[in-house]
């Protein structure tokens, strides 16, 4: 530095400027060859332990986790349970214990065998508070593990009706015990290993993930030799990727863009219902404590118009928190769109368009497709009957904080995803006033729900949920709006099988 002269400094700066002008080549306007699948994905994965930390239960990470790791139990595209690494599964006769039979001959990506010891270690790890699984207290119910041949049995105490479903979705993957012990937590983050259809190859944090086919996968070698997930979190960049052809698949673009892209030659499309349900939480304190106000609010929302005009038909209007793919869904439970009845109900409580009920409604802007626009439309519909809502836009982080503190505004937009398809994971927690995520703290259905938590007769349990669901709809403790659809655009040289859990993973694609 001491020898640097003014002239040398300026010359160096000039040379650097010239270096920026290197000649560039025309970029190839196509993704890699037929043995490579490139997915412009809408989220970036952050960590590789799929059973620990917040990323373990992030729905957007599951596609990548499922490509590398096997869940205990698989899910069919319609969310029903299916054989996977665990070939047979079920409750014992009195439904107090679960038996899981590990598939014979499974291998980890390093060629070593997957053993029942691995399965037990993984199950115990889920319930270990030091590991930090967000549902640790749920999995801590699994105890007294016993192994007989390929079968692992364990008690579920306290009993949880949806434990089998729980082992099929978030944060429930098989990790290799010996390898994890050898490389440690840090080593596993650098080179994760599982028994899934694809092996980890390269990960550029915030940019891409590259996978290689695992030829010894128990379900057969996967169709693509190489899979690349590009983490294109910006929707316009994803559209650019598929439009230019540098990615073979993309997803979650605005519906307007979806309609434009699906007409382009060389591209195929799918837009299908997923397990996310849009809803309005009502706060049991404040104006919505009044039955008439709540019911009027529910009756004055024209959900079909919202779906058709705002979501361009890419959503399904719902009257219950359970979507059709969920167990316990009852299509006979309906809430009519009846603004005249809403006016009459409000009049009973002394409200009218001249003397409206005034309150705040909270919504995110852009967190879910058309969230703000949906609320704008609802506010207009409500104004016609005597409900005057002021919109407050906030971040999703604030929503979750307020929700767990029971401080949401009288009405708040939210979405509830439940790809386990069991009603306990949505209705059971969203409406139970003792649960942290419940906004309705009135407690009117708590006893009924808690009775269902310990109901071991499956038919009675699901019938019970239908009855509770009807009570909730009739009393408008919550206002379900619609089921979200997921738009996917892909090259027409591919064949795609949609999955209701919203997965976009390589095993869903084949060459057409």
């Amino acid at each position: 530095m001491a020898n640097t002269t003014r002239r040398a400094f300026l010359e160096t700066a000039g040379a650097s400027a010239l270096a920026a002008g290197l000649p560039f080549s025309i970029q190839p306007a196509s993704a890699a060859g037929a043995d490579t699948l490139t997915i412009a994905y809408s989220a970036a994965i952050t960590a590789w332990d799929p059973n620990s930390g917040p990323q373990a239960v992030s729905p957007s990470n599951q596609s990548m986790y499922r490509s590398i790791f096997d869940p205990y139990i698989n899910q069919n595209p319609n969310l029903t349970l299916a054989s996977g690494a665990i070939e047979k599964y079920g409750w014992n006769e009195d439904r107090s214990a679960i038996a899981l039979t590990l598939r014979q001959g499974m291998k980890w990506h390093d060629g070593s065998p997957v053993t029942t010891d691995d399965v037990v270690w993984n199950l115990q790890r889920l319930g270990d508070p030091k590991v930090g699984h967000p549902l640790q207290a749920v999995f801590a119910s699994n105890k007294n593990f016993k192994v007989d041949g390929q079968t692992i049995t364990f008690d579920v105490s306290p009993w949880r009706a949806n434990m089998l479903e729980r082992l099929s979705f978030l944060g429930i993957y098989l990790l290799p015990q010996k390898y994890f012990g050898k490389v440690g937590k840090e080593g596993f983050e650098k080179q994760p290993m599982g028994s899934g259809p694809y092996m980890f190859d390269q990960f550029e944090r915030g940019s891409f993930l590259r996978l290689k086919a695992f030829k010894d996968y128990w379900a057969g070698a996967p169709p693509f030799e190489t899979v690349v997930y590009k983490f294109t979190t910006d929707a316009s960049s994803r559209v650019a990727e598929i439009e230019r052809g540098t990615s073979d698949v993309t997803m979650d673009m605005p519906y307007e863009e979806y309609d434009r892209l699906r007409k382009k030659p060389g591209l195929a499309s799918a837009c299908y219902p997923v397990s996310d349900v849009a809803l309005l939480f009502f706060n049991s304190d404040g104006p919505f404590a009044d039955d008439n106000v709540r019911k009027a609010a529910a009756m004055s929302v024209d959900k079909k118009a919202i779906v058709e005009r705002i979501h361009r038909g890419y959503a399904k209007a719902l009257d219950t928190l359970l979507a059709p793919e969920y167990k316990g869904y009852d299509p006979t439970i309906t809430v009519p769109y009846d603004p005249k009845q809403a006016v009459a109900l409000l009049a009973k409580s002394g409200f009218s368009t001249a003397k409206p009920v005034e309150f705040t409604i909270q919504v995110t802007r852009g967190f879910k497709p058309k969230d703000y626009e949906t609320i704008q439309a609802i506010v207009q519909m409500w104004r016609q009957v005597g409900l005057k809502a002021n919109i407050e836009v906030y971040e999703i982080a604030k929503h979750f904080e307020l929700r767990t503190q029971h401080k949401l505004a009288p009405a708040a937009f939210a979405s509830w995803g439940n790809a386990s398809a069991d009603p306990e994971s949505s209705l059971g927690t969203a409406l139970n006033s003792k649960q942290p995520h419940s906004s309705w703290k009135g407690g009117q259905v708590d006893a009924a729900l808690e009775a269902l938590f310990i109901q071991k007769d499956e038919t009675k349990r699901l019938d019970g949920y239908k009855a509770v669901n009807r009570t909730i709809a009739e009393n408008a403790y919550i206002l379900p709006l619609f089921q979200f659809y997921q738009p996917v655009i892909y090259k027409n040289t591919l064949k795609f099988t949609p999955h209701t859990a919203g997965f976009v993973m390589p095993t869903q694609f084949k060459l057409a």
Binding site: T46, G132, A240
Partner: protein
């Protein structure tokens, strides 16, 4: 180089850094958004929430958390990221080279374009090149970096496929880098095809960041040069028979660069701030991209770590700017 001056400046940075640490620690706990509430799924129990608070040390009072945090910081421990579950310092140092290289290339482009435009506007003043430069500056300044990013993607990646849309390198090809400094490593090891690939991926995000800064540099330089050419020493140089270009470059420019460098240094902070959205648009794996994810997930240790390391960088950058004055203009002495 006056070592005493540098040591004094570095010592003065300590209270600044402590202020930053306190400010960011308190701010992150005042703004809405609970990291545990963000991470728990719908059916988490109150016990799950309590367990997670204990795992991340959030069950302690803010005072206790702060004392523990300062103690760890003094030992060089920035904590573990909640969302990424890795050491914050190693995460930041892992991603910093990508952002540093992007900012470096953006600065080089901005300085090259800004200086050229400033000189052109003054040399051909009151003629069409000056008007063209003024118009270009107004357009470049009128749009933020991320809008430039989208425009460049649409025009130079989709309509005319000249540059890649996203990433830092081709994800399909195996890239063999020993460090995270892809640009400098490929340059120093003489792997020109790799250097070209890295520059191709970096070009659009760098230009998006550079355009507004280039316009600022051009404007400031133009104003400084216009002031300079009215001075007596310029008249003397002309009388001595020097050509107008030589007078402009050898006598007026060095003096005008002082204010330009100051403004460039100040705007570098905005440029780094602009990397957040630009890195998102181009899926460029730098600090900005990571910072965005940390903010969404309310990853307190990561947000704190990135902010403190950025503060250190800005302090060092300002020091470098002060030192560079002496190299540009020998009349300036470090006090």
């Amino acid at each position: 180089m006056p070592i005493v001056y540098v040591a004094r400046r570095l010592l003065m940075a300590v209270p600044t850094l402590l202020g930053v640490v306190i400010f960011i620690f308190v701010l992150l706990r005042v703004v809405p958004g609970d990291p545990i509430a963000m991470m728990i799924p719908g059916e988490a129990t109150p016990q799950d929430i309590a367990n997670l608070r204990a795992v991340y040390g959030l069950d302690r009072s803010i005072g206790e958390q702060f004392v523990i945090y300062i103690g760890n910081l003094l030992r060089g421990d920035f904590g573990e990221s909640i969302s990424i579950k890795q050491n914050v310092l190693s995460l930041v140092l892992d991603r910093l080279p990508a952002t540093f290289e992007l900012a470096f290339v953006a600065m080089v482009i901005a300085i090259a374009v800004g200086l050229s435009f400033g000189l052109i506007a003054v040399y051909w003043r009151r003629r069409w090149p000056e008007y063209a430069v003024d118009t270009a500056n107004a357009v470049a300044l009128s749009l933020p970096e991320f809008i430039w990013g989208l425009i460049l993607v649409l025009s130079l990646s989709v309509m005319w496929p000249l540059f890649p849309i996203s990433g830092r390198i081709d994800p399909v090809q195996a890239a063999d880098f020993k460090t995270q400094f892809y640009l400098f490593e490929s340059l120093l090891t003489g792997r020109l095809s790799l250097l070209r690939e890295v520059l191709e991926y970096m070009f659009l995000p760098a230009v998006s960041l550079a355009l507004p800064l280039a316009a600022v540099i051009a404007r400031v330089l133009k104003t400084s040069l216009m002031e300079g050419i009215g001075q007596d020493y310029v008249l003397l140089a002309r009388v001595k028979g020097l050509s107008p270009l030589r007078v402009l470059l050898r006598h007026v420019l060095p003096n005008a660069l002082i204010s330009t460098i100051t403004i460039t240094g100040l705007h570098f902070t905005f440029l780094v701030g602009g990397t957040v959205l630009v890195e998102l648009i181009f899926a460029y794996p730098g600090i900005g991209n990571m910072l965005y994810g940390a903010a969404i997930n309310r990853d307190l240790p990561l947000l704190q770590g990135v902010t403190i390391i950025f503060a250190v960088i800005f302090i060092l950058l300002n020091l470098l700017i002060d030192i560079s004055y002496t190299l540009i203009n020998p009349r300036v002495r470090l006090a």
